[in-house]
């Protein structure tokens, strides 16, 4: 048969297992009016889902991974190194993929017009970084530890300190936006976004590990955080 006349073609889709929270988690009040209520429609993966944006490399500057060197002065706060690997569901590295992060400053304030928390902005901190994973799936950022901040979800509500992370992976099906938390945060117990992931073992995979080995003496604490995207079905399915 000529190319282009193939009647059927096996496509290896991406596996369905995930640890994602439900859409509706009423303790997180904003889900009540924004969560879809009707069942999702199953979608067998086609070329449209196993391809995805190859995006970002050309936009990554030399200092984009260093959030402490984007201004003339250094930001205030506890300097930290965030490093780790991006892996697929089989433990293989996800190479050359864009990783974007954003966060509050050390005082718990985002450089964003919607953030009205009366904590100081830091003129030396924008709070955004980007990088591309290397051949081993590794990434590395230098930043300051974000502060906790209040929000109006429930009485005396505070978000556990976190860094937002966005990843594409190899396909439309592997897109992930998540948040990385810090070990031992005393605010976990009352944070419904963190607890929307119902199984504590799954929540543990959103918490970075303090990494004394990679901590640089007299300079910066290190945290290690691996991210795992969906794995691929081993055998192409013939539909």
């Amino acid at each position: 048969m000529e190319r282009g006349e193939r009647l059927t073609e096996a496509i290896a889709g991406y596996r369905r297992e995930n640890a994602d929270p439900p859409y509706l988690y009423p303790d997180y009040v904003a889900t009540r009016t924004r969560a879809p209520r009707r069942p999702l429609i199953p979608l067998a993966h086609t070329l449209s889902e196993v391809t995805g944006p190859v995006y970002g490399h050309e936009h990554v500057g030399e200092l984009d991974h260093d959030l402490t060197r984007q201004h003339e002065g250094e930001p205030l706060g506890e300097r930290m190194i965030l490093h780790g690997r991006v892996l697929d569901g089989d433990g293989h590295p996800v190479r050359d993929t864009l990783i974007e992060i954003w966060q509050a400053n050390a005082a718990g304030r985002y450089k964003h017009h919607v953030d009205r928390h009366p904590a100081p902005l830091d003129p030396s901190f924008s709070g955004a970084g980007r990088g591309v994973t290397d051949g081993d799936g590794r990434y590395r950022f230098i930043t300051v530890k974000p502060g906790a901040y209040p929000w109006r979800n429930h009485p005396n509500a505070w978000r556990a300190a976190h860094i937002h992370i966005s990843l594409f992976g190899a396909a439309f099906a592997t897109r992930l936006v998540t948040q990385m938390y810090f070990p031992g945060d005393p605010l976990f117990f009352q944070d419904p976004i963190f607890h929307s992931v119902r199984d504590s073992r799954d929540r543990d995979r959103m918490i970075a590990r303090f990494d004394h080995d990679r901590t640089v003496p007299e300079w910066a604490l290190a945290y290690e955080f691996d991210l795992v995207l969906r794995g691929r079905e081993a055998t192409p399915m013939v539909h």
Binding site: T8, E9, A10, E17, N18, A19, D20, P21, P22, Y23, Y28, A30, T31, T33, R34, A35, P36, R37, R38, L40, I41, P42, L43, H45, T46, S48, E49, T51, G52, P53, V54, Y55, L87, G89, G91, E100, W102, Y110, K111, H112, V114, G127, A128, G129, H164, S166, A171, F172, R175, L176, V177, T178, Q179, S196, D202, R230, G231, M237, V238, H239
Partner: protein, 186 residues
């Protein structure tokens, strides 16, 4: 097997980390085939969602994806077309892109899928993205045989087809409510 990292909401402050300058135009506005795609994201109370992030993924006019896995040499891939778009909603919940209508893409079960654009929506209050597809109003026949569109309940299919709106194509996204947009389990 390694277990996946759970999804968390993009939150209200994603604009600082997920810039979309230049990403709302998948082709230049003066491209002879350029079309304007607009829409509004609405919540279950019909209120505009002013802090949503809409991302597109689509094939080019020939139906080829700018991705190594789509390696069909018989379908051309022009330089400069990535097929990825990103737009944060405005104060009215609106989004807008300049793009082209993608060509048909084959389906693994045989035959072609109707032209479509993959859509992800992220927002505060969405603990994980919602995924849907935009189909085209001038593809009635192809839409009627599209295996994905016809997997949607008949009475909801029309809501996945963009409509003509004063020279643009309009695709509103209802996260919840009587007019909830069909979302796919990806």
């Amino acid at each position: 097997m390694t277990l996946p990292t759970p999804s968390q909401t993009v939150g209200p402050f994603f604009h600082i980390g997920l810039p979309h300058a230049g990403l709302t135009e998948l082709v230049p506005p003066d491209d002879p085939h350029a079309l304007r795609l607009v829409g509004t994201v609405l919540d279950g109370e019909g209120e505009p969602v002013v802090d949503a992030l809409v991302e597109l993924w689509q094939a080019n006019r020939e139906g080829r994806y700018a991705h190594p896995e789509d390696d069909r040499e018989e379908v051309s891939l022009e330089p400069g077309f990535g097929g990825f778009g990103r737009c944060g909603t405005d104060d009215s919940g609106g989004y807008g892109f300049v793009t082209v209508k993608p060509g048909p893409v084959r389906h693994p079960a045989g035959g072609m899928q109707a032209p479509h654009i993959g859509v992800s929506v992220f927002a505060r209050g969405l603990l994980k993205r919602v995924v849907t597809r935009i189909y085209f109003p001038d593809e009635r026949e192809a839409n009627e045989s599209d295996p994905v569109l016809t997997s949607v309940e008949p009475e909801r299919r029309a809501s996945l087809v963009a409509r003509d709106d004063d020279g643009a194509l309009r695709f509103d996204i209802h996260l919840q409510g009587d007019r909830e947009t069909p979302f796919f389990d990806l």
